[in-house]
C-alpha cells in the first residue's frame, strides 16, 4: 500500500502580477522501503512538490493522502510532527541549539522529554555516525556534512516514516554527499522508510529505486 499518494494535485503561487502554477494536476503514489528521485529543471516544481508532501501547505486542488487519509483532513502540525520529515539543502538547524538539542527538539514537541529524549537523540546521532564530540556543538561549529547528519538524525526522530530530502547534498563535497545519500538509501532499504530526494545529481539518481521527471509542474515520466 502506498504511504503517500497524490491525486490530481495542483498548486500555484500568488504572484501579484502573474499567478504561477507550480504543480499541475499531478498524481502519483509513493511506497515505503523505496528511494525516489525527483528530477527536473530549476523551477520545474520539485521543491514545491516536496513541500506539499511535507504538509507545509495544502494543494489548491486535488488531494494528498497519507496512508489513505487525506492530509487536508489532518492537523497539519501533527502531520509534520509525526508523519513526515524534511531534509533541506542548507540544513536548517536551530543555530542556538546544540546538535543534540536540535535532534531532541521534535521529540520535545511530542512530549518526549528529559533523559529519554536525550538517549534517543544520542542513538540517532550515532546512527548517522556523528562524532561524539560534535553532539554538544552548535551547528555553526560543525562541518556541512556533520550538519546534514544532524538534520537526518532530526528527521529520524519520532519515527516519521517519510523522509523528504530537498537537494540534500547540494552544499556538500562529493565524499560527504555520498555518505549522506548512503544513509538515506539505507534508511529506505533497511528501515523501511519512504525517501524522496529532489536532486540534479546523476550519481544519486542512479542509486534510487524510482525516478520521477518533473517538467513544468507535471510528471513528465518516471522509471
Amino acid at each position: 500500500m502506498a504511504i503517500l499518494e497524490l491525486k490530481n494535485v495542483s498548486y500555484s503561487y500568488n504572484n501579484l502580477h502573474h499567478p504561477v502554477e507550480a504543480i499541475k494536476d499531478m498524481s502519483h503514489s509513493f511506497e515505503r522501503g523505496k528511494v525516489y528521485a525527483i528530477v527536473g529543471k530549476s523551477g520545474s516544481g520539485k521543491s514545491t512538490l516536496l513541500s506539499l508532501l511535507a504538509g507545509l501547505d495544502t494543494p489548491h486542488s486535488g488531494k494528498i493522502f497519507f496512508e489513505g487519509i487525506a492530509t487536508a483532513d489532518m492537523d497539519l502540525d501533527e502531520y509534520r510532527r509525526t508523519c513526515t520529515a524534511v531534509i533541506y539543502q542548507n540544513f536548517r538547524l536551530f543555530p542556538l541549539l546544540t546538535a543534540l538539542e536540535n535532534v531532541m527538539y521534535p521529540m520535545e514537541l511530542c512530549n518526549l522529554k528529559g533523559r529519554k529524549a536525550e538517549n534517543t537523540a544520542i542513538g540517532l546521532l550515532e546512527k548517522v555516525a556523528l562524532p561524539v564530540n560534535a553532539r554538544d556543538r552548535f551547528p555553526g561549529m560543525l562541518s556541512g556534512g556533520e550538519q546534514q547528519r544532524v538534520a537526518i538524525a532530526r528527521a529520524l526522530s519520532m519515527n516519521r516514516r517519510v523522509i523528504l530530502a530537498d537537494e540534500p547534498t547540494g552544499n556538500l563535497d562529493t565524499e560527504n554527499g555520498d555518505n549522506i545519500i548512503e544513509i538515506l538509501i539505507n534508511l529506505a532499504h533497511e528501515d523501511n522508510y519512504c525517501v524522496l530526494i529532489a536532486t540534479h545529481d546523476l550519481n544519486i539518481i542512479q542509486k534510487t529505486d524510482e525516478v520521477l521527471y518533473i517538467s513544468d509542474g507535471k510528471i513528465a515520466g518516471h522509471e
Binding site: Y13, S47, S51, L56, R81, F94, E101, G114
Partner: protein
C-alpha cells in the same frame, strides 16, 4: 536612448517613484511654508522692535507721592545711597536717563491757565481796614497788588490775617493767597512766605514774612528792589509764568511721550546730531507757542533755575536768579494736556546738570531692549531699596511680539527639521535610485557605455522625479501659504502666555501693530531649486561611488558572528518545550538579548526622566502658587494715586466675599484737630470742648484742617498709604498690643497709634487718652487711647485708629446681600488686598472683569481701577508654564514614540527570526507552542530590562511615582503587543512562502 531607458526605469519602479514624489513634494511644501513664515515672522519682529519702545520707569514711592509741592528728604537720601550704575550698566539697558526737570522761564510768557502754579497767590497792599460783622475777619480795600492774577486793585477784600493784627486806619502789605468765600467779596488769607531756594541761599531768615505795616509809606515804592515784598512779588511772577523744562537724550523715552499723553503736533523730534551735541533747540507745548506767538524755526529766550533739594515751585528766588539761560530754536510743538501744558523739552547738555534739582518722584527711566524687559525687571527689582519702584511700560510689545517669537521659533524648528529630513530623504533617494542599481551600471559599463552616459542615465531619472516633486511641492506651498499664514495669525492672536488683565505689567498703553504676512514668493522657487540640486548632488555622489568601485576588488567574505559558548549553559535540567526554548534563546541570544535588555532599560530610564521632568515642572508651579504673595491695590485711572480714591464700601464688601481675597486692608482718612488730654479723673467737666469758629473763620479753619494731619481708620498700618511702599515701619506698642488691634472691633474707648513727633509735641504717652475734633460734615469730639507710637515717614502726624470706629466690621464683612444697602454711605480712601490663592488669579481677574472694575488705561463700568502686582509671579509662572506647555505637547509625543519604538523593535526582532519560526513550523510545532517560545523569551528580556531600569532609577532618584510606573507598564505593554503581533502575523503566514523567500 539613455533618456528613454532612464524614464522607463522610473516608471517601472512605480511604487518607489510615487513614494519619493510624495515625500519630496511634502518636504518641499513644508520647507517652503516653514521658511517663508520664519522670514515673515522675523521681519515682523524687526518691525515690532522699530515700532515699540520699552522703558523701565524708576520712581520713589514717598509718603506724599505723587505730590510735587513737597520736598521729600527720604527720596533725596535714597538717591544719594543708590548706585544708579546698576541700571545704566545693565546689559539689557540701551539708555538710562535720570529724571531731569527744572523750572524755566521764557521772556514774554504770561500764564493764565488753571495750572499756573501761583494762580491764587498774591502780594497786596491794603488799607481802610474794618470789621465786616461780628464773626468775620477784617475787611479792607486792596490799594494795589504787587502780584496777583486776579486784578484786585481797588476792590474790597475780606482778610483772614492769620494772627497778624490789622488795625483800622493803617495800611499793610500782605503775602497770602486768594480763596473763594461764601460772599461775592474776594477773600484773602495771609500766609507766611515760603521759598526753599531763598532759604537755602540765606536770602531770608527764619522769621516768617507775611505782612508789614506800611502806613505812611504809600505810595509803596515798586521800584525799591530791595524790599522783601517786592522781591516776593517778582519771584511769584516768575514762578507763576514758569514752564517745566525737561532735558533728555531721547524724547520718546520720557514717560509722557512714551505713553503718548504727549506727542509732536508740528515740526520734528530732535535729530541724533542735536542730541549728541546738546544743541540749543527745543520742543515746546502748543500753549507755550501760542502764548508767545512763536512757531517752528522761531527762537525763545529760555532761563533755567536749578536749585538743589527744593520743591519745583520753590526752586527760583529773585536774588538767586537763573542758573542758565540761552536762546533756543523751536524745532517742534507738542500738544498741551492737563498739567503738561507749559513744558519745554531740550536735548541734554553736559554743561547743565539737571539731576541735582530732583523734581517730582520720578528718578529716571531706562530704555530697555524690547525682548529683554522681563529679564531686566527680574535683575533690577531685587536690588531696589525701600520705596523705590520699577515699572515696565512696553507699549504692548510683549503681547504683540511674544506670539510671533514663538511662531518664528517653531517655524525655524520646522524648517530645520525639514532640512534634516530632506537631506536624509534625498540621501535615501540617491541610494535607492542609484546605488541599488549598481549592477545595472556595471552591465552598462561592461557593454561599453561611457561613464558620462551612465551618469546621465541616473541623473535624468532622478532629476525628473526631483524636478516634478519640487515643482509640485513649491506650487502646493504657494497655494497653502494663505491658509498657513491665516492659521499662524489666528493662533498668534489667541496666544497668551498669561492673563495680563489688571496686571502691573500692563499699565502701558497698547500700541496696535498688525501682522501683514509678507510672503516672499521667491522663497518657494528657491527652495524647490535647492531641493532639486541637493537631490541631483545626492544621485551624482552615489553614481560617482558606484563608478569608482568598479576597479576595486570585492571585499572578503562577511565575518560570521561569534557563536555562543556552550559552557555554563545549565539548561539540561529544564524540561523541554517553549519555556526551555525561550531560556535557551535568552542565554544564547548574545547581542540580540543584550540589545533588548539595554533598549528596555534605557527606554524606562528615559521615560522616567521625562516623567520626572514633567513632575518637577508641575511641582515647581505648585511651589510658585504656594509661595507667591500677590497683592492688589485700588488706584486712580492713571495707575499713580493709591489714596483719596473714594471707594464704595459695598463694592469692597462684594470683593471680600468673592472668596478670592484675604487681608483686605482699608483706610479712611478724616481730618482732625487735637484738643488735648481729658482729665483721667473726670473732675473737669468737658474741659476740652472746642467751639467752632463761624462763617469765614470756619472756612479758614476747615481749609487748614483739611490740609493738616488725619485720623486714619484702618485695619493695617503697614498697608496704609503712608507705609505701603516702605519696609521700615517702626512701631512701639503698649504691652499686650500689636498691629492686629486695628482690625478688631473697638471695645470702649478706641485705641490708636500716634507718631513719636505727636507725642513729643503734645506731651502725651502710651496709655493716655487724647481728645480730637474730627470733621466729616460736622465736628465731632472723639476720644482715643494711645496704645503705640510709630516713626512717621511722611510730613503729617497722622493718627491710626481702629477701622471699626468708622464702620461696623460685622456689616463691612457681612455676606448678607442686604448689607450692601447699609454700606452705601461708607467710603474708603484706599484699599489693598492679598489674593488668597495665586493659582486662581485668572479666575479672580475674570471676576473683576465681570464685576466691571476698570484697568489702568482701560475703562469699564465701574470707575475703580485695580492693579495687581503679579509681575514677578507672572514672570516665574510663565517661565515654568512654557516648559509645562512644551512638555504637554512634547512628552506625550515622546511617550508615544517610545511606545512605537518598543512595538517596532519587538516586531522586527521577531520578524528577523522568520526562518527560525518557519523551521519550527516545518518540524510540526503548533502555533501556540511557537507563540509561547518567542513570547516568553521576549517578555522575559523586556521585563529584565525594565526591572533593571526601574531599580536603577529608584536607586538614583529614591522613588518611583505613579506616572513612572504607568509609563514602564506602557512600555512593557507596547513591547508585548509588538511581539505578539509579529508572532501572530508570522504564524498566519504560509510556511512554504517563508521558506521560498529564504531560499
Amino acid at each position: 536612448m539613455i533618456f528613454r531607458n532612464s524614464v522607463k526605469n522610473i516608471i517601472r519602479s512605480g511604487k518607489k517613484t510615487a513614494l519619493f514624489i510624495i515625500l519630496i513634494t511634502i518636504l518641499t511644501s513644508t520647507l517652503c511654508l516653514g521658511l517663508s513664515i520664519w522670514i515673515s515672522a522675523d521681519q515682523f519682529l524687526l518691525e515690532c522692535n522699530a515700532n515699540y519702545m520699552t522703558i523701565g520707569l524708576l520712581e520713589y514711592m514717598g509718603p506724599e507721592y505723587p505730590d510735587e509741592s513737597v520736598f521729600d528728604e527720604g527720596m533725596s537720601n535714597a538717591i544719594s545711597d543708590f548706585d544708579f550704575s546698576l541700571i545704566s550698566g545693565n546689559e539689557n539697558v540701551l539708555l538710562w536717563e535720570r529724571s531731569a526737570r527744572a523750572l524755566g522761564y521764557i521772556e514774554g510768557l504770561v500764564r493764565t491757565d488753571v495750572y499756573a502754579p501761583l494762580r491764587e497767590s498774591g502780594v497786596v497792599i491794603v488799607s481802610n481796614i474794618g470789621n465786616f460783622n461780628n464773626y468775620s475777619p477784617k475787611i479792607a480795600v486792596i490799594e494795589k497788588s504787587l502780584f496777583s492774577t486776579r486784578n484786585p486793585d481797588g476792590k474790597m477784600v475780606l482778610i483772614e490775617p492769620d494772627g497778624f493784627e490789622l488795625k483800622p486806619g493803617r495800611s499793610y502789605v500782605l503775602n497770602g493767597s486768594f480763596t473763594t468765600g461764601k460772599t461775592s467779596y474776594m477773600y484773602f488769607v495771609v500766609t507766611p512766605f515760603v521759598n526753599k531756594a531763598a532759604s537755602n541761599g540765606g536770602f531770608i531768615g527764619e522769621d516768617s514774612i507775611k505782612a508789614d505795616d506800611i502806613t505812611g509809606k504809600i505810595p509803596f515804592s515798586l521800584s525799591d528792589e530791595s524790599n522783601i515784598f517786592n522781591k516776593i512779588a517778582r519771584t511769584y511772577s516768575v514762578i507763576n509764568n514758569s514752564v517745566s523744562v525737561h532735558s533728555t537724550r531721547n524724547l520718546n523715552s520720557l514717560p509722557d511721550f512714551h505713553q503718548q499723553r504727549l506727542f509732536i503736533e508740528k515740526g520734528r523730534d530732535f535729530t541724533t546730531e542735536e542730541y549728541e551735541s546738546g544743541a540749543k533747540v527745543c520742543i515746546v507745548s502748543e500753549l507755550v507757542a501760542a502764548s508767545l506767538g512763536k512757531g517752528i524755526g522761531d527762537s525763545i529766550e529760555l532761563s533755567i533755575a536749578i536749585s538743589e533739594d527744593t520743591p519745583f515751585f520753590e526752586s527760583y528766588w529773585v536774588d538767586s536768579g537763573f542758573t542758565h539761560s540761552g536762546t533756543y530754536e523751536i524745532t517742534g510743538i507738542c500738544n498741551s494736556t492737563g498739567k503738561m501744558s507749559y513744558d519745554v523739552f531740550i536735548p541734554a547738555n553736559s554743561d547743565v546738570d539737571f539731576t541735582v534739582n530732583q523734581i517730582g518722584y520720578t528718578l529716571g527711566q531706562a530704555v530697555i531692549a524690547n525682548d529683554r524687559a522681563g529679564l531686566f525687571y527680574d535683575e533690577i527689582n531685587p536690588l531696589l531699596p525701600d520705596r523705590m519702584r520699577l515699572t515696565i511700560y512696553d507699549q504692548g510689545y510683549a503681547s504683540v511680539a511674544e506670539p510671533f517669537e514663538k511662531v518664528r521659533r517653531i517655524a525655524f524648528i520646522i524648517t530645520l527639521a525639514c532640512v534634516i529630513v530632506s537631506l536624509a530623504v534625498l540621501a535615501l533617494f540617491g541610494f535607492l535610485f542609484v546605488y541599488r542599481q549598481r549592477d545595472t551600471a556595471d552591465i552598462m559599463i561592461k557593454l561599453g557605455t561611457g561613464k558620462r552616459r551612465v551618469y546621465r542615465y541616473f541623473l535624468y531619472g532622478s532629476g525628473l522625479i526631483s524636478l516634478f516633486a519640487a515643482a509640485l511641492g513649491s506650487a502646493a506651498g504657494f497655494y497653502l501659504s494663505g491658509f498657513a499664514t491665516g492659521l499662524v495669525n489666528s493662533t498668534a492672536l489667541n496666544y497668551s502666555v498669561s492673563d495680563t488683565r489688571y496686571s502691573i505689567g500692563s499699565l502701558s498703553i497698547q500700541k496696535p501693530l498688525e501682522w501683514i504676512p509678507d510672503i516672499e514668493y521667491g522663497v518657494f522657487g528657491l527652495t524647490a531649486l535647492c531641493l532639486l540640486l541637493v537631490s541631483l548632488i545626492s544621485c551624482l555622489s552615489f553614481a560617482t561611488v558606484i563608478l569608482a568601485r568598479k576597479n576595486k576588488k570585492p571585499r572578503g567574505k562577511k565575518r560570521k558572528p561569534p557563536l555562543p559558548s556552550v559552557k555554563g549553559l545549565a539548561l539540561s535540567g529544564i524540561s523541554g518545550g517553549p519555556f526551555k526554548y525561550s531560556l535557551v534563546s535568552i542565554f544564547r541570544g548574545g547581542q540580540r538579548s543584550i540589545i533588548t535588555i539595554c533598549v528596555a532599560l534605557s527606554s524606562v530610564i528615559f521615560l522616567n526622566q521625562l516623567a520626572h521632568t514633567s513632575g518637577g515642572y508641575n511641582a515647581r508651579l505648585l511651589e510658585i502658587y504656594e509661595d507667591s504673595v500677590i497683592t492688589g491695590q485700588f488706584m486712580d485711572s492713571g495707575g499713580i494715586y493709591h489714596n483719596k480714591l473714594s471707594l464704595e464700601a459695598f463694592q469692597l464688601n462684594d470683593l471680600y466675599n468673592s472668596g478670592y481675597v484675604d487681608s483686605l486692608h482699608l483706610s479712611r482718612e478724616v481730618p482732625y484737630y487735637y484738643l488735648g488730654r481729658p482729665d483721667p479723673k473726670g473732675e473737669d467737666e468737658n474741659p476740652l470742648t472746642f467751639v467752632l469758629p463761624k462763617e469765614f473763620a470756619l472756612e479758614t479753619f476747615l481749609d487748614k484742617l483739611t490740609a493738616g494731619p488725619k485720623i486714619i481708620y484702618t485695619n493695617s498700618i503697614s498697608a496704609s498709604p503712608e507705609f505701603i511702599y516702605s519696609t521700615g515701619l517702626s512701631v512701639e506698642y503698649l504691652q499686650g498690643f500689636d498691629e492686629s488691634f486695628l482690625a478688631q472691633k473697638p471695645d470702649g474707648i478706641p485705641n490708636c497709634l500716634v507718631s513719636t513727633d505727636f507725642m513729643e509735641e503734645t506731651g502725651s504717652r502710651p496709655g493716655d487718652v487724647i481728645r480730637v475734633l474730627i470733621w466729616t460734615y460736622k465736628g465731632i469730639e472723639h476720644d482715643m487711647k494711645i496704645v503705640g507710637s510709630y516713626v512717621k515717614e511722611g510730613k503729617k502726624d497722622n493718627i491710626y485708629c481702629q477701622l471699626g470706629v468708622y464702620v461696623d466690621l460685622d456689616l463691612l464683612y457681612s455676606s448678607d446681600p442686604g448689607a450692601n444697602e447699609d454700606l452705601y454711605s461708607y467710603y474708603f480712601d484706599s484699599a489693598n488686598f492679598v489674593i488668597s490663592d495665586a493659582s486662581k488669579i485668572d479666575d479672580f481677574k475674570t471676576y473683576l472683569y465681570d464685576y466691571g472694575y476698570s484697568e489702568v488705561n482701560n475703562f469699564r463700568s465701574i470707575r475703580q481701577f485695580i492693579v495687581l502686582d503679579d509681575k514677578s509671579f507672572n514672570s516665574m509662572k510663565n517661565g515654568i508654564y512654557q516648559k509645562i506647555r512644551h512638555t504637554k505637547v512634547l512628552h506625550p509625543f515622546l511617550y508615544t514614540l517610545t511606545g512605537i519604538i518598543a512595538f517596532v523593535l519587538s516586531y522586527l526582532l521577531i520578524a528577523s527570526r522568520k526562518k527560525e519560526l518557519a523551521l519550527m513550523r516545518g518540524l510540526g510545532a503548533g502555533k501556540f507552542t511557537i507563540f509561547l517560545s518567542f513570547f516568553i523569551e521576549q517578555a522575559l528580556l523586556c521585563l529584565i530590562g525594565c526591572a533593571l531600569g526601574i531599580a536603577g532609577w529608584t536607586l538614583f532618584a529614591g522613588r518611583l511615582d505613579e506616572l513612572q510606573q504607568l509609563l514602564a507598564l506602557g512600555y512593557i505593554a507596547c513591547y508585548f503587543l509588538g511581539t505578539a503581533t509579529a508572532i501572530v502575523i508570522m504564524n498566519h503566514t504560509v510556511v512554504l512562502s517563508i521558506l521560498n523567500e529564504e531560499d
